[in-house]
């Protein structure tokens, strides 16, 4: 009956915890095989620049969303003035974060280039 169908919140929490573990395992970088320890173990997962590129695309998406919402408000399609402003703020924040990351990466590169050989 219904007691068999219903799932207690504790059981649901356990289920989610298990799902989380499985997901973490699937996302974790595969450790290099012990037998190939001598060889050049190529790190798996996304490289720094792949990551950076994905984030830049995300920042661009945020800006596009903010743009569209602003257009919708001024053309009368939407009344969510504060949500448009919020999207603009989000786009600004994420853009600033991206610029800061870029500055740090560039600084690190220049530091290396200045290194006397």
């Amino acid at each position: 009956m219904s007691s068999q169908l219903s799932i207690s919140s504790q059981a649901a929490e356990n289920l989610f915890a298990r799902l989380r573990d499985v997901r973490k395992e699937s996302l974790a970088p595969v450790s290099p095989d012990a037998s190939q320890a001598g060889g050049a173990a190529k790190p798996s997962g996304m490289s720094f620049f792949d990551q950076l590129q994905a984030r830049v695309a995300e920042v661009n998406d945020n800006a596009k969303v903010a743009d569209k919402m602003a257009v919708d408000v001024v053309t009368g399609k939407s009344e969510n003035l504060h949500e448009a402003m919020l999207a603009a703020s989000t786009a600004e924040l994420t853009f600033n974060l991206m610029v800061q990351v870029r500055n740090r990466a560039l600084e690190a590169y220049q530091e290396v280039m200045r290194m006397p050989v």
């Binding site: 989610f16 915890a17 799902l19 949500e83 703020s89 989000t90």
Partner: protein, 145 residues
Amino acid sequence: MSTFKSMAISSSALSAQRLRMNILSTNLANAQTTRTEEGGPYRRRDVVFEASPTGNQFADYLDGTHDTKLSKVKVTGIHEDQGAPRRVLDPSHPDADADGYVELPNVQVMTEMVNMIAATRAYEANATALNETKQMAMKALEIGR
């Protein structure tokens, strides 16, 4: 990211207060209305707010980022004030009853004005909270500059 979560919470409050303002405007606009679709004079309306959990999406559970202590606000209902209508003697009015009394809405203009001030202030407070959250994030970006 919790910065954006905090902004989303403030945003939900802004939406709720804007809806409340719409309802208050409706009350003021219909302060003298004697005819409605349901018959009888207009009845004053008010909003009911309810705390609704934020981040209850499946992906949040999967990431373990759901937080039951954070909650947005949402308008769960608009209820009608069942108080008795005001009875005013005006025999020339087309909606007057046999005794010459007209039933006017139970809207108190003073109360509505005060509620409107409260709604405006609440909106301002939440807009300020949103700006402060943004300021915090901007300050964090200045670390180590």
